[in-house]
């Protein structure tokens, strides 16, 4: 017969259990409060008005397309910079750099991960933006590209650390087999190690880039706050406005319960759904059933 644990222990066990389940509660609470404050927007502003190109809340124009595309273009620019830089750095740290160099590079990437985004925004205003304006002879340095550069700095540490983990997890035997048949280290990296780690590297890219969509402060400070449709060829070099920046800059001034307030929460719901989609995609890549050949080899 099982002896029952003493009362204090049972209370503690309950507490630990509750702490464990609290994360589920928080996700549900976040969802509930976003919906309860954001859903009214759909009734106050017809969907066809939400999906227009004019965001001018003072005169009740709530077209969210320019914000959506603004977020998209900044993130796309960031991906173009952060993916090669992040994956390249991860490969270099994991496969090429000697031990002492790893010990320097890894903490430095961690330092970058610790930079507060408002500090990056501050440097963006003072250094990156004037620099870009001069170098590319733009009318203003507050452009989508400026935001992309800073966002890349935010995405890179995530990409490097997850991708490097994935590369490290490739069994040494894979590399040795490749060297044994005469491949160089360089050929081994491209032909064996990277393909073997591809799901981890892909997850690194998705999480790094996906989460930069939700970045707020740095992007808000340097992209010029112009809610216009970024459709022309030079969109990357023009001021834009992201969804996150719109919430951050306008929420402080709206009346609680107004249409504008509800629409800002609706944009929050969109951001929540995007982060959900990013996470689900990343998890699906990890839990994908391994191919038969992979199972045999590992």
């Amino acid at each position: 017969m099982k002896e029952q644990a003493p009362l204090p222990e049972r209370i503690i066990t309950r507490g630990i259990q509750a702490a464990g389940y609290s994360s589920i509660l928080f996700v549900l609470l976040i969802l509930y409060f976003l919906i309860s404050e954001g859903a009214p927007a759909v009734f106050e502003v017809p969907l066809k008005d939400l999906l227009t190109v004019r965001w001018y809340p003072i005169e009740a124009y709530f077209g969210i397309l320019p914000l959506l595309l603004g977020s998209l273009i900044v993130t796309l620019g960031a991906a173009l910079i952060a993916i090669p830089a992040g994956v390249g750095t991860a490969v270099f740290i994991s496969e090429v750099a000697p031990g002492w160099m790893k010990e320097i590079l890894k903490p430095l990437v961690e330092v970058l991960a610790g930079f507060p985004s408002v500090m990056l925004g501050f440097l963006g205003i003072l250094i990156v933006s004037p620099g870009l304006r001069q170098a590319l002879r733009l009318p203003t340095g507050l452009t989508a590209l400026t935001g992309s550069l800073l966002l890349a700095g935010i995405a890179i540490p995530t990409i490097v650390s997850i991708a490097e983990d994935a590369l490290n997890n490739v069994p040494r035997a894979y590399r040795e087999a490749s060297w044994a048949v005469g491949a160089t280290r360089w050929q081994t990296i491209w032909g064996v190690t990277l393909p073997a780690a591809r799901s981890g590297v892909l997850m690194a890219v998705i999480l790094g880039v996906g989460r930069s969509i939700g970045e707020t402060m740095a992007v808000m400070m340097v992209t010029g706050n112009a809610p216009v449709m970024p459709l022309k060829w030079n969109a990357l070099f023009s001021p834009i406005r992201t969804m996150t920046a719109t919430i951050a800059s306008e929420m402080g001034e709206v009346a609680t319960g107004s249409t504008h307030y509800h629409v800002l929460f609706l944009i929050g719901i969109i951001l929540f759904l995007i982060s959900l989609a990013v996470n689900i995609t990343a998890t699906m890549i990890v839990f994908r059933r391994p191919k038969r050949s992979e199972r045999i080899l590992s």
Binding site: T13, A19, G20, I213, T244
Partner: protein
């Protein structure tokens, strides 16, 4: 034969060029980090003085010190710790030591990855909705700390769980065989053994909270306050928000004060980062297993 040699020669050159390119990319990625830190120190250090650290802002923040912002960030960080540390470590203990492998546990893990991915400004919206308006805490240190703690939770849970799981199973088996209950094993054996890892995780989580701006924008941050907050129900100035304010909202701001403020904020997070790495590497050297 000769063609074979050229072939291996080409391979060698390709490899060298390739490694060179990778090294170049890595340098290009890492160099700006060193440059930024060096530049911030060089530009910000002249602004830092005792008056700057201990004084109140004057002349519409264009002069004086940043004491209220420094203290505010300390309050928010401590407030975040009060909620997120017990809850985060508790959740980690549950996942590492108690949780059965079933659907509920998987749901908890999905929830944690989800929390980790939610944009910080959405946490701000949530905090506004639940703490400021629904629970009527107003824009206050309490509301902001609660918001930040939920945001910090996933970092603390995942790093702490990893630290707990790193303790070899034999420790648990021996402790249980000596008649210890599960909680006694956790409390006397597992927690002390994994403490350095847990502390590292907590510091990294709080570091993130200390540097965040978006979640406190509508939940507790104040543009300017003539007095220090008197209670957790007061709003507060905070370093990251202050840096945002003086670099975008105040015209004619002296650059030196901006760099000084940015440097203080950077030091805040860097010091936490360094403490975390020191604890981690010392624990690794002293580990029993």
């Amino acid at each position: 034969m000769s063609s074979g040699r050229t072939n291996s020669e080409t391979k060698r050159i390709t490899q060298q060029v390739g490694f060179g390119l990778l090294g170049f990319i890595a340098t290009l990625t890492v160099l700006p980090i060193i440059v930024v830190v060096g530049y911030m120190i060089q530009k910000g250090a002249p602004a830092i003085s005792w008056e700057f650290i201990s004084g109140f802002p004057a002349d519409g923040m264009r002069a004086g010190g940043i004491l209220p912002a420094i203290l505010g960030t300390l309050y928010l960080t401590l407030g975040t710790a009060v909620f997120s540390v017990p809850l985060g470590i508790g959740a980690a203990i549950y996942l590492a030591e108690y949780a059965p492998e079933n659907g509920w546990t998987r749901a908890i893990r999905v929830a944690i990855t989800n929390l980790a991915g939610i944009p910080s400004v959405v946490y701000g919206l949530f905090g506004l909705g639940i703490f400021v308006l629904f629970l009527k805490l107003g824009t206050s240190i309490l509301a902001a700390s609660l918001t930040l703690s939920i945001m910090t939770l996933p970092v603390i849970i995942s790093t702490s769980e990893e630290a707990l799981r790193a303790v070899p199973n034999s420790f648990r088996v021996v402790s249980t065989s000596l008649g210890a209950t599960r909680w006694q094993t956790v409390r006397r054996i597992i927690l002390p053994q994994s403490l350095p890892g847990i502390i590292t995780g907590v510091i990294l989580g709080l570091e993130r909270a200390a540097g965040e701006t978006a979640p406190i924008l509508f939940t507790g941050a104040a543009f300017f306050l003539p007095n220090l907050p008197g209670s957790p129900l007061d709003a507060t100035m905070a370093l990251p928000y202050h840096l945002f304010v003086i670099s975008t909202q105040v015209p004619g701001m002296p650059v030196q004060i901006q760099y000084g403020t940015a440097l203080v904020l950077l030091s805040f997070v860097l010091v936490m980062n360094i403490i975390a790495s020191v604890i981690r590497s010392r624990a690794r050297a002293r580990r029993l297993w």
